[in-house]
Structures are given as C-alpha cells and as structure tokens.
Amino acid sequence: MPGLGTSFGRGGATTNQQDLANSDCIVIMGSNMAENHPVGFQWVMEARERGAEVIHVDPRFTRTSAVATRHVGIRAGSDIVFLGGIVNYILTNEKWFDDYVRRYTNAPVIVHEEFVDAEDNGGLFSGWDSDRRKYDVTTWQYAGVEVHGAAGQREQGFKGSHVKGHAAHGAHGGGMSSGNPPERDETLQHPRCIFQILKRHYARYTAEVVAETCGCSVAEFEAVAETLCRNSGRDRTSAFAYAVGWTQHTVGVQYIRTASIVQLLLGNIGRPGGGIMALRGHASIQGSTDIPTLYDILPGYLEMPHTERYDGLDDYIDRSSAERGWWGNAGSYMVSLLKAWWGSAATPDNDFAFGYLPRIDDDHSVYWTVEQMLAGTVKGYIIAGENPAVGSANGKAQRLALAKLDWLVVRDLVEIESASFWSDGPEIESGELRTEEIATEVFFLPAASHVEKEGSFTNTQRLLQWHFKAVEPKEDCRSELWFYYHLGRKIRERLAGSTDPRDRPILDLTWEYPTSGVLQEPSAEAVLAEINGSDSDGKPLGSYKELKPDGSTSCGCWIYCGVYTDGVNQAARRKPRWEQAPVAPEWGWAWPANRRLIYNRASADPNGKPWSERKRYVWWDGRKKKWIGDDVPDFDEQKPPDYTPDGDAKGPDAISGSHPFIMQADGLGWIYVPQGLEDGPLPTHYEPHESPFRNRLYEQQSNPARQTTDLAEDPYSPPGSPVYPYVVTTYRLTEHHTAGGMTRFLDYLAELQPAMFVEVHPGLARERDLRHGDWATIVSPRAAIEARVLVTERMRPLHVDGRTVHQVGLPYHWGTRGRTTGDAANDLAHMALDSNVHIQEVKALTCDIRPGRRPRGAALPKFVRDLRERAGAR
C-alpha cells in the first residue's frame, strides 16, 4: 500500500466502512463496491439516504452505478487524468482547505533546486536512468536536507532501498534523512515549494483534456469536481473508496497517490466521513501485508535485509529507522521480532540473530518466481489457498511454469485448476503440454474450512476479528496452522543434530506451541500471544510503546502489539454494537492501538479544537490536558497542540503538537513524495502498458519504471495496434469470488452466474457481428478465450481523441473445473507490473473480439500466433 503509506504514513485504509455513513459525498472509483463488498456497501446506502452524493466513476455501468446518485464512464486506465483534473480544478478555483493544507501537509516545503518535473521533461522526472530503467531520486528530495548516501549508490526498488523509513516498500511512513529541517515557504509562493510545483504539474490536466482522454464530457467531469469540493471543508467531508480497479495497473500506486493529494488538499483525511477506504477482496489481505506473505518485508513493514547492504543489525537499524516520527523506534521493533523468532538464541552478542535472516537482492515477487520456474531455477512450490492457474495474469505462463516444477504442494478445499493443470489444463487440450511428459510431482492436501479452525482475519479496515472453531475438520483436512507447524516440527526433527551453520536458524527457531486434540492442532491463541509480544517475564505487552531495543521484549509484529493486552484475546471481543458507541471500540481490535479512524488528530484544527461541531471527532481537552473524543486519539495523548520540538529531538518527540501524521518523519501529509516510490514524486498520467492510444499528455507513453518480462510466453501488443483495437477490463461478480475456487464449486452460487460471458455495447456487437446469447472469441497476444455474448447498453462506448472506443468487459471467475466451467479471462493478461508492488495490470489491456467459439486443439495456439505476428507483437 505505498500509495497510502507514503502519503499518510501507514499502508492501510484511513477509515472504516461504518464511517462512510458520515460522509457528505462518496467517490467510488476503481471499485465496484456494491457488487464486491455488498455488506460494507450498506453504509454507502445509508449515507445516500441521509442526502450524501454517491459518485461512481468507472469504465462500466455496474450494480454500484445503478444505485449511485451519479455515474461517470471513463476509459479504463485514464484515472490519473480524471483525478489530476480534480487537483487542477481545486487549485485553479481556489477550493483547497487552506488551514489544513498549510499546517498539515508538506505543501509549503521547498524541493531540491535540481528537481525537474515531468511537465518540463516529456513525462520523465529528473534522475531517470534509461539503461537501468530506474530513477535516481536525489533531486526529488527537500531542499536543505542532506541526502543519505551518495547519489550513485542510491537505488530503489528491485535492488532494495537505501532510503530511510522503508521507502523501498513504502507501505508506510516515509522517513526523513538526517540534516537540517527542510526549507519552507509558509506563503506557498516560492516557485520550488511543493504547492507551486503541484500547480504547474497539473496545470495541463484541464477539463477538456480530461474529457478527451477519459472519454467523459466536460460537464460530467466538472459536476464531479464541483460536487466533491462543495462537500469538503470545515463542515463537510468527502470520502474516496477504491479497490483493485486502481491498484491493478502498471501505474496503480500512483492512482491512489492522486486521490491522496485530492483528499489532503480538501482536508478530508483523519476526519469523520472523510478518508480513503481501501477495499480489499480477500478475508485477510490486509493481514497478509501486515504479517506479510511478501518477500520484501518482515512483520510490521520492517524491511527484509538486503544482500548488498547492512553489515549488521546496527547498520540495518540505522538505515531503516527514521530520526523523527515513530519509525525512530524501528530498532525496538526489529529486535523484538528477532527475539520472538529466535528467543534465547538471539543475544546482543550475535546481533540478536540478525544474521539468521535470509537476504533479498532482487525482485522475488510472485511473477518473478514464475519467470524463475519457467527458467527452471525454482524447483518446489507450495500453494495455500490461492489459484494462480486461473487467478494470476497470463494463465498459460502460470500453468507452463507449474509444469516445469519438480514438486508442487497445493492446499485447498476443492481440487482447483492449480492442482489439476497436468490433467485437464487448457494446454493439455491444445496439445502444448502432454500429461505423461509433465515431470511435476503434485501433492494435493485438503484444507480446513473457516469453521473448522480458529484464528484472526484482518479485514479491510485494519480490524482483527477472531473466528472460533465450530467443528473438527474431517479425514485429512487440516488448517494451514497445522500444516506449517507440523512441517516445521518434522523438518526440525530431520535436521536435529546437524552442525551445518545453515541449519542453525531452523534449529534455534522458537517452535514450541501447545497442541490439542487428536489432530494435535497447535494453539492459534498461543501464536497470537507471540505476535502480540511479551516482556522478559513473559507478561503480554499492551502497546508497541513498551517495546525495547535491548532484547528485553519480544514481539512478532509490532503494529499488532496490544491485540493480546492483559493476556486477553482482544480480537475475539464481540460486545454487541447496541451496547457501545457507533465507533464500537470493543468489537475486535484494530491496528494501530485499536484506533478505528487514523490520523484523527487532523479532525481538530492546529489549536486542537474541532474544525466544526458537525465533524467533531477527537480534540484537545485543555483542562484534562489530553486528547479525547469518540476514538483512541492517533496521537501522543498528552502532547499539547502547541508543542514544538527542539532542534535535536528524536523519534516521536520530534513531531510537533500540530502535525497529525505521526508515522511520517515530519508529521505531515505528503502531497509530494520525495522518497519511497519508484516512479515519481507526483502522479503523472501514463497509458497502460497495452493501450489503443498514444499518451496525449507526454511523449513518454507508459510508466517508464514499469516492470516487463522478456518471456516468450509473455508477448505484448504494440501501442495503438489495429490488430487489438479494443480495451478489455476484467472484474468480479457478486455471485462469485476471485478465481472461483470458493464459489464455482457451490451449487447455490454457480446457478446464479452459470457461464463465462463477455459484456459488449450494441455498437461493438454491430461492428464485430456479435449476437446476443451466442459465443464470442476474445484474443490478446497471449491467448484466445471464448465467452457467451451479453450485449448491453451498460458498456458505454467512449469518445477518446475524437474517435469512439469500445470497452470489453470480462469477469475472471471461470476455469476448467467446478459446477460451472469456462475459459479464464486472466489467460489474456500480460505480466507487465507496477514497479512499486509488482502487481499485474489486468484492469486495462487490449484485445480483439470476434463472433463464434475459439479454435480447438492445436488450431488455438496457431490462431493466437498468427494474429500476434500480424500485430508485430514481441
């Protein structure tokens, strides 16, 4: 979540779903909330019933649009132009929340004199290294701030990061390098102050440019901008809600950044009814970022050590902690994590076993791993509760990669395509793979369902909620907790007595968890207690503020510290809503510190008074000398509004009493991000990796820092190719879930959406001779799939660059197995990625569509290849 992380300090939704009901205007963009988060959507409907505007900006007219007060159709992949247009509208019409912007954001800060904006450089910022396709971010820094490390060494991204505050992942607060505080111009007039740079950067994002690039009308755009501004300020607040419609682009992180800028300018962050609601699609996707199943971070967004840096722990801590803000305590978080993992084996003398950690030096993300499988260097793979053969971009590459493995373990409730690719995958049918030639050894292990195990999910609003075990899993079904615990136990038994230093970490690992029952199920609560952390006497800690860098505390994930306060499972709290205030602090437990609406210091003015009665939330009580309100203050409770740190204050003490963003080194909301992002300090419009259009704003066509592969299995269509003239976007339906493993196999859901279909406008149907109800073949440079044709006015054609562009809509739930089967939309997608988080671009691709079913057998790959060659796609 670098988009939110670099802007505000934490990589999580700034608000909660219930609070949307307090909004005066909700902009849903990059999300189809009514369809994919129906129950959360009740709060949006509540807001609408109270008179709030609900604006849906989306390429399609969906079930969300149907109940919104306004829908604006835009071309998939043009969101930054639309949002940039709003920034421009705010600035040119002087609609920004002046006090908020001056006091709570970095708008007044002056930037390095060598900084060159993309505006003046054809779409590239200063510091672009075209050989390595990476930015040197030296010139992006604040003026007067000494940059750590020589520019030459400064690298971000795949080579890890030198930048303080975990900028590499950037999933949370940006640090600030040592040196003088940055220069500021409180009048916001200095030509190099961020406010002026912002003005210049978005000056060309006019309503007309928005209309021509996004395909909406000027009036539609201005209505949205006007409505949003009208509903922001002291008395009113507006919220944004987004999902993977924003993230799944080669410039996805910058979509979210643009919205962050809008919300900072309008003063909508940290206030009730405001914020940015990140809507996640899986039960614990937020949790699997907090306690990461991600290669480049450790629990709590601590950076994974890098091969080329960090001589030892001190060096790591020095480089990865910020001098100001809460990242100043990174050392305490890291040491406590090492103690949680290696206990008594982690001592001051051995750097608390820092050396036990493996190191990264490249992109080791899921798509990189797939490339390595195809190259034959990855031999073994474990898949737990995911279905890449259907759910990941370029399904064929995914399946071919699985077929190259020596061994594969798949854990799921049903036999998903990722487990059966060797017997009934599309490549078997097309003859590209032959079962008896696939060497992969496959273990399918049945998993336990959510009512057969206990544990916590972290939902979309950072809320940990415990689910209890109702019944024992049957036969061979086991929880992942059981699997990884007993796997570790057996490996430790196997290696017991080994003297090989490489085995020390696994043998020294703290791996004693109480088990119970005939199945010997480990105690999830014991694991939660370890995550929460304890002091040297084993007493559970109550807050990350208690963590120490001296090894006297242990904590498996510092941001979750407090979830087991007083030895009580706080995530399991279920005090009924009618027995507590609307914020419901006693239902589950939210990180950080059970704060439900974060940065809430910003709900009060610099002097600590609510901006308005209508929007009061957290304020300074002069008599009690503390912050009070409806929620846990996201601020040092005792720190008065007028507190000003002295020059050499460190850590949290260096944050002023009027700076609400306490995870940021300067306590400010970052309109401009000097460090932490791979592809620019300010969001800039780039066309999707595959687009039927040239970038009409800059000569730079697509995100220069985007990742691409050189795989033969992953060819790309050249920009504007007439062979693939249509924009295709993929999405979910209410009736199904992601790759379908949890829904396609269920009778009651399968019957509600019983076939893969493609949505097209009558105009496109005429153009391509598609008949409603018949079949159509959709083809990209990677694959061709077939689907039933649903002709609908909801797929509105757009007028872009003076011509009409049709968009093709594809749900991506189907695969070769289940009660309902069909071709997988993701087979069409490519593996070009966003450079910050390595996420695929499945929301905006190009394709062609033709009437009739796709070729069968060997004719299929030939059909795809012929078109590809005609397009000259590599």
């Binding site: 129906p38 019933e49 079930r63 909801r794 509105r796």
Partner: protein, 295 residues
C-alpha cells in the same frame, strides 16, 4: 384474511416491504432462502437476461431478483427533464427481489382442496409439505404465478409409495415462500430479510410496514425518483392487499408482475350460481328430451 380461527394464539400479521430503490441485486436473498429452506439448486442455464439467471419464482426459487436495463433516468427534476450536467443518454438498471405476496385473499389457499395450504397464526400463507398431495390446483389459481409443483426424482430414502401402481417418480408437491414459518415460530426474522445487505427487504408487522412505505414514497417523490410507486399496499385491491408488498420504479408488468391482480374466488359466489343454473339447465334439457316421448 383472518387469523381469527387462532383465537388467543393469533399473532399480529407480519410481512415484507421490499424497497427496490435500495436493492443492489446481490441475490443474497436467493441464497439465504435456499440455505435455510434446504431447497434443491436450479439449473445452470445462462439466460442472457441481464444478470438474472433464475428467471422466475418457482418450486425451487422462493426469492427471485429481477434485473431490468432501461434507457430512462433514475431521477428526474421537477419538470421531468433528465438530470443536467451533460450526462450521456439516460440509463438505469432496476433490480427487484420478488417473493410470494402472502395475499390477504390468497387464490392458492382458497383453491387448495386438502387444506395443505393454510393461513398461519402470523397471517401468512404456507404449504404444509406433510399434507399436500400435489393436485396442482393452486398453481393456476395464483394471480402472480408464484406457487409451483416440484418435479424431482424420488431418492431411495424417500418413503415407499402407498399405491405404487399409481405412483409417480417425483416429489410432486407444491412449494413456495413460507415467510420462514419455522423461523417466525422461533422468533427469528425470515432468512432473506436478515441477509439483505442494504435492507431492501424489510420484515415486520404489516401495519407498521405500510406506514413506513408511505413515508418512504413521499421522500422519494420529493427527490424526484422516476416512476416511484407502491405496489400491493392497498387493502382495497383485488387480493385485499399483499402481505409482501413492494416499492417499484416502473409499471408492475415491467417486473413481470400483474398490474391488477384479482383473487379468482372474488367471483366464486357468482360462479357457483352459474354452475347451479347450468346444472338445472342440464336437468331441464334432458327432461325436454323425454318430452318428445320416452322411446
């Protein structure tokens, strides 16, 4: 309709108010209904009729969400013009969760010869699966085409047929929404209403629901909702008012609902008279035949 026969056991009449202006077409009602009532799954036919693949209420679908795509604005300002701000050609997507109307005067209930269908103490209309013999008379009797006979292969564990010779291989009974009679008896609200994410399906005492609906309609009219109207809230209508009524945004037939449903038995007295006359006529006719001589 009356729960009078229950005397002291009678409960206030309950029902549904389905407000289509907040329906998001998620179909939670369809699934929650099937999960609770253990209803067999339907077919896997893709209809291409917008997002509706269940098509209609029948023996195995007791809640059905209709989807209608229209070139009409969702709201109109005072003078009936489309909303301003250069919106493209108007488009709206109506969704409505249909269900048995639990009529005050229920055609199915009146028609049922066995008493399998009956009026519960809650004023709802329920089929008793232990009584129904599948005569099928209620099916054409319903003005809404709700109730239907379930034709399923008998499973081995089904009780053997008393008269195998006349036996059928099918479930053969009629089914429809029971307004979760069993849940009501336990003090729980019906499964569909409980699940509904946006409270489009509201369960409660009918009188209160009707008041709420009136207020709701007034608000929507004030907000210029295009075509907002109540359907089935009028005790004076052909079925004496619905126990489950609706707030629609277009003519009922657009949603597949009859514009002016009338319970067949409204004409029963006259029908019996006609029948009696016809019987007499037959008698007279044959008598006349003998008037011309006995042989």
């Amino acid at each position: 309709m009356s729960t009078a026969s229950y005397g002291a056991e009678a409960k206030p009449r309950v029902g549904f108010f389905t407000d289509t202006t907040v329906c998001i077409g998620c179909k939670a009602c369809e699934v929650a209904c099937k999960e609770w009532n253990l209803i067999p799954s339907g077919g896997l036919e893709w209809t291409g009729e917008s997002y509706d693949n269940t098509s209609q209420l029948d023996a195995n679908t007791w809640r059905h969400v209709a989807f209608i795509e229209q070139p009409k604005p969702l709201r109109v300002d005072a003078d009936g013009a489309d909303p301003p701000d250069g919106q493209p050609e108007p488009l709206r997507w109506l969704m409505e969760s249909d269900v048995c109307k639990h009529c005050t005067h229920a055609g199915c209930l009146d028609a049922c010869p066995t008493g399998a269908l009956f009026r519960t103490e809650f004023g709802t209309v329920v089929v008793q699966e232990d009584v129904c013999n599948g005569c099928g008379y209620c099916v054409p009797a319903c003005p809404f085409g709700v109730i239907d006979r379930r034709d399923l292969p008998r499973s081995p564990q089904d009780a053997p047929l008393a008269l195998p010779l006349l036996g059928t291989k099918e479930d053969g009974r009629v089914w429809k929404c029971t307004l979760c009679y069993d849940r009501l008896k336990g003090g729980h609200e019906p499964a569909c209403a409980k699940a509904c994410p946006t409270d489009s399906i509201q369960f409660g005492e009918l009188d209160e629901l009707r008041e709420r609906a009136q207020k709701r309609l007034a608000k929507l009219e004030g907000e210029g909702w295009n075509g907002a109207r109540l359907y089935g809230d009028d005790p004076g209508d052909g079925v004496g008012g619905f126990g489950a009524f609706f707030l629609l945004l277009d003519e009922p037939e657009v949603y597949g609902l009859p514009p002016d449903p009338v319970v067949p038995t409204r004409h029963l007295a006259r029908l019996w008279r006609t029948t009696a006359l016809a019987a007499a006529g037959l008698l007279a006719g044959v008598a006349l035949a003998f008037a011309g001589g006995a042989e």
